[in-house]
C-alpha cells in the first residue's frame, strides 16, 4: 500500500508535464518584455480610472470659482490647490476629468470590441461553415458595408437620433464587427475540414451546435489577439467623434473630448490641458498595441 503511493508519487514527479496551448502561450507572453510593460501600463491606467475619482479632492463637474477667469496663472497643476493636473478653462479639476474621461474611453473601447467579438465571430463562423451561396451573400454584404465611409453615417446617426452614450455604442458596434467577421470566416474555412468537425457531423450534431461548441472555441486565440488590437481602434473612433464635438456630452468627457478642449486652448498658455489627456491617450494606445502584439506572438506562433 505504502510502496504503491510512493511509486505513484515518483511516477507523477517524473512524468513530463503536459503543456496546453494556453500555458504555453502564457509563458511566451510573459517572456515578452514590451507586452508585459504594456500590461502594467494598462493596469495602471485602469486603476487610475477606477480610483482616480475617489481620491481626487474635486469633482469632475465642480467649478473652482477661485481660479475661474485666471486659469493661466491659478489653474496650473499644483499640489497646493488640489488641482494635481491643473484645471480646464472653466475651472474644473483636470485630474478628476481625466479620470472620468479615461473611464468613458476604456468603456467604449471594451464594449465596441465585445460587440465585435460576439457578433463578428458568430457571423463569420456561420458564413464560413455553411459556405457556398450563404457565404457568398453574407460576405458580399460585409464587403458592401465596408466600402461605405462609416464615420459619416455614424455622425449622421448621432445627429439624427440625438447624442448619447448608447447611440455611440450602437454606432461603433455597427462598424466594429466587419473585420472580425472576415477573420473568423477565414479561420472557419480552415477548421471545417478538420476531423473533429467531421466526427461531429457524422454523429449528427446540429450545425449551429457544431459552430458554437466546436468551431468558435477553436477560433478563440485569433479572436483574442484581434480583439485586443480592436480596443485601441475603437478608442480612436470614439475620440475622433468626441474631438469633433459630436461624442459624449458635457459634463461627461472622454480622451478625445479632453484633447479637443486642450488643443483649442493651447494658444493661451494652458498647455497642461492638452498634455495630460494626450499623455494618457498615447500611453494607453501604446500599451494596447504592445499587449496585442505580445498576444499575437504568444498565441499564433506560425505567424512569426
Amino acid at each position: 500500500m505504502r510502496g504503491a503511493t510512493i511509486t505513484d508519487a515518483s511516477y507523477l514527479a517524473d512524468a513530463p508535464k503536459g503543456r496546453s496551448l494556453w500555458s504555453d502561450a502564457r509563458r511566451r507572453f510573459f517572456r515578452n518584455r514590451a507586452a508585459v510593460a504594456g500590461l502594467i501600463v494598462l493596469a495602471a491606467i485602469a486603476l487610475f480610472a477606477l480610483i482616480g475619482p475617489l481620491i481626487a479632492p474635486w469633482d469632475y463637474e465642480e467649478i473652482d470659482w477661485a481660479v475661474l477667469g485666471n486659469v493661466e496663472e491659478l489653474g496650473r497643476p499644483s499640489l497646493a490647490t488640489g488641482h494635481w493636473f491643473g484645471t480646464d478653462q472653466l475651472g474644473r479639476d483636470l485630474f478628476a476629468r481625466t479620470a472620468q474621461g479615461t473611464q468613458i474611453s476604456l468603456m467604449v473601447g471594451l464594449v465596441g470590441a465585445l460587440i465585435a467579438v460576439f457578433f463578428g465571430t458568430l457571423y463569420g463562423a456561420v458564413a464560413g461553415y455553411f459556405g457556398g451561396r450563404v457565404d457568398g451573400i453574407m460576405m458580399r454584404t460585409v464587403d458592401v458595408l465596408m466600402s461605405i465611409p462609416y464615420m459619416f453615417v455614424l455622425i449622421l446617426l448621432l445627429v439624427v437620433f440625438g447624442r448619447s452614450i448608447l447611440m455611440l455604442f450602437i454606432g461603433i458596434g455597427l462598424i466594429s464587427w466587419l473585420d472580425m467577421a472576415r477573420i473568423a470566416r477565414g479561420q472557419t474555412l480552415a477548421l471545417k475540414s478538420k476531423e473533429f468537425v467531421e466526427a461531429a457531423v457524422a454523429t449528427g450534431v446540429h450545425p449551429f451546435r457544431i459552430i458554437v461548441r466546436h468551431i468558435v472555441p477553436n477560433l478563440l486565440g485569433v479572436i483574442i489577439v484581434y480583439a485586443t488590437l480592436l480596443v485601441p481602434s475603437m478608442i480612436i473612433y470614439e475620440s475622433f467623434i468626441s474631438f469633433l464635438g459630436l461624442g459624449v456630452q458635457e459634463p461627461l468627457t472622454s480622451w478625445g473630448a479632453l484633447i479637443n478642449d486642450g488643443a483649442s486652448e493651447m494658444r493661451n498658455g494652458t498647455i497642461w490641458q492638452l498634455l495630460f489627456p494626450l499623455g494618457f491617450f498615447v500611453a494607453g494606445l501604446f500599451a494596447f498595441f504592445f499587449v496585442g502584439d505580445g498576444l499575437r506572438d504568444a498565441l499564433d506562433p506560425k505567424d512569426r
Binding site: 466600402s147 465611409p149 469633433l244
Partner: protein, 307 residues
Amino acid sequence: MIAFVFRRLLVAIPVLLLLVVLTFVLMYAAPGSPFATERGVPPAVLQNLEREYGLDQPFIVQIWTYITNIVTDFNFGPSFVYRDQDVNDLIAQGFPVTLTYGTWAFVLATLVGGSLGIIAALRHNTWLDYLAVGVSVGAQVLPNFVLAPILVLIFTLWLGWLPGGGWQGGQWQFVILPVIALGTSFMASIARIARASMLEVLSSNFIRTARAKGLPQRTIILRHALKPALLPVISYLGPAFVGMITGSVVIDIYFSTGGIGQFFVASALARDYGVMMGITVLLGALTILFNLLVDVAYAWIDPKIRY
C-alpha cells in the same frame, strides 16, 4: 478586362444606391421637422416650407426625386438651414481645398511609406529597419486629431515656422501641416505593410531560385520581388482612402482650411440634413469609385486573379 471592370461597376451601383437609401431613411426617420426652431414655427408656415422643399411628398417620391436630381443634373439639393445656398455651392467651395491637401497627403503617404517599408525590408535588422519600425509604431498612436495639435504646438507656437491654420488659396506654407497631420499615420501603415510583404517575398522560393541563377541583386528586386511585394500595399489603399476622407474632417476643423469637412460638421451641429446627406452621398460615391479603381489595379497587377 473590360468585362471585369463592367462587372465591378455593376456591383458598385447597388452599393451607392444602398448608401443613398440608408442616409435618406435616416434623415426621413429623424424626429421633428428640419425647420422646427426653439421658438416654434406656425403650422401654416411649416406646411409651406415643407411643400417648397418637397417634404410633404410621400417617401418614395422624395427619394426618387433626390436620386434623379443627382444623376441627371448633379444636383444634391438645397440646404435646409441657409436659404441662399445649396449643397452644390458648398461642394464647389470646399471640395477643391480637400482635394488639394488630400491628394498631397495620399501621394506622399504612398510614396514615402512604400519606399520606407521596402528599404527597411532590404536592410533588415539594421538601424534603418529599426528606424522604420519605430516610426510606424509611433505613428500608430498618433491619429490625425492627435498629431494636428502636436504639430501646431511645435511648428507654430514654439518654432514659429508655419502658420497654424487657414488656407489662403493654398499657398505652400498653409498646406504643409495639414498634409503631414493627415498623411502620417497612413504613411506608417503603408510602411509596415510594405516591409512585411517584402520580407515575405524575399524569403520565398522564386527569389531563392533567382539568387541561385546568379541574377544581380538589382534585377532580383526590381524585376521579381517588387511587384508581388506591392500587392498588399495596393489592397490597403482602399481603406487608406476612406480613412483620409474621414480624417479630412478633422483637418478642416482643426486648421480651418475651409474644406468639405468643415461644412459637414457645421451642418451636423446645425442639424442641416440636406447638406449632411449631400456630402455623405458625394464622399460615399468617391470612396466606392476609388475602391473600384483599387480592385481593377489589383486585378491588373496580380497574375493570380483571373477576370
